[in-house]
Amino acid sequence: MSNKQPYSVLAVDDNLLNLKLIEKSLSKEGYRIFSANNGPIARKLAEDEKPDLILLDIEMPGENGFEVISKLKENSETNSIPVIFLTGVIEVDSKLKGFELGAVDYITKPFHPLEVLARVRIHLKLSIATNSLIAGQAQKLKQVTEAQVAMLPTPEANPTALFSVYYKALEEAGGDFYDILNISDHITGYFVADFSGHDIKTSYMTASVKALLAQNCTPVYSPAESIKMINDVLVEILAAGKYLTACYLHLNRITKKLTIINAGHPPVVCLPVEGEPILIKSEGDVLGMFKDAHFGIQTINVSVDDRFVVYSDGLVESAETKITWAKGAESLLPIYNELNEVPFQDVPEVLIKKLFGEASMPEDDIVVLCIKV
């Protein structure tokens, strides 16, 4: 004997005899039956017992079947349970309305217990197949997320790059991405990008972009040349309409020069060792869209201990909706002032906490990278 729990069915009907008839015929076939003779009890049972299927009478005093199914579908605990409704043979409108509200099938009354049994079986089979499909897909996406996280370099593994990072992919396969390129002992490249769309294809693309960065960000090419070559390849391989916004920082710690290439990305924030925070804005086309794209390029002189913050738009966009004083990147400047005393290792984390509060989480994918000269 297997220990498997039997499939359970919730039967809802104000007619006691109908309930009993359903109960008798289904339990004989090995189903576990919950019965309710009104809507509120039915909804409570559905939430507590999570039956595999619900048989729901439409015509009931008090809360009728339409109201019950609407409320079941609004509740995330119960909205995936298939509902078959029981309706009078002549009521065409009520059948249509039932389907509109999310029912999977109907049984006309008077019903025959063997028909009930047959329909319950069919819909349980369908539901089992759908659930295993969903579970399989979720498992695959989970693997992609794991692979994606494994591709992201950590500060510990790159001690000479002097950076700290906050990375959060809210969906199974996130659209945000960053990479660190150790071009030479004293030259480091920092890349932050945000793909348009958050689907599984996007997350496969991050692997391609990582490979392109490794191939093209070398001492032989200038930062502008590197990004142009990456752009030209992406134009070829990205699907039409897909692109990424990106920011590439190329820091030479001996010449103290920092080149920032901006491809449609939010501005970089400079936290100089002395003075007020500055936004480094530069207009530029997005990556992977146009063959002859023009990017915003700036080279600036930096001092030891200057810090730079690069982030994806999740930071400013979420802040706009959540925090009333924020009107975009510009209005985040006062916050950066408060980061003067924060060690650079903690800047991304502290920034997120300041913006989103201790408890709540960002509502979009987010990357925040802090770099120290």
Binding site: L16, L17, K24, S25, K28, H112, P113
Partner: protein
């Protein structure tokens, strides 16, 4: 009435069917009371609801005579008329009683 045959049509054994019939009689008697009160107080909506309840159960158990009788009562009451309900009620009670004696 051939309970054995009705039971097998529903895929039930006779004992289970007998149990359902007893439940049907009890609930129908309660509904008949409601119909009588509804007729006395001229409440067609109440009468229609009670007749609907007997109809549903009778239909599911395969009691065709009771089903068509209560369907007729439900429809007539829905139209707002309770004419000749005394006769209909007597007929219905006889039908239910005949189940009891089996």
């Amino acid at each position: 009435m051939d309970f054995k045959n009705l039971a097998s049509k529903l895929g039930l054994d006779e004992d289970d069917f007998q149990e359902l019939v007893e439940l049907f009689i009890t609930t129908s008697m309660a509904d008949i009371d409601k119909i009588k009160k509804g007729v006395a107080s001229n409440d067609p909506a109440g009468v229609s609801a009670a007749a609907h309840s007997i109809k549903g159960a009778a239909g599911n158990l395969g009691f065709e005579d009771i089903y068509s009788l209560t369907l007729d009562m439900e429809m007539q009451a829905k139209d707002g008329s309770l004419a000749n309900f005394d006769d209909k009620l007597e007929h219905l009670e006889n039908q239910i009683n005949s189940l009891e004696s089996q």
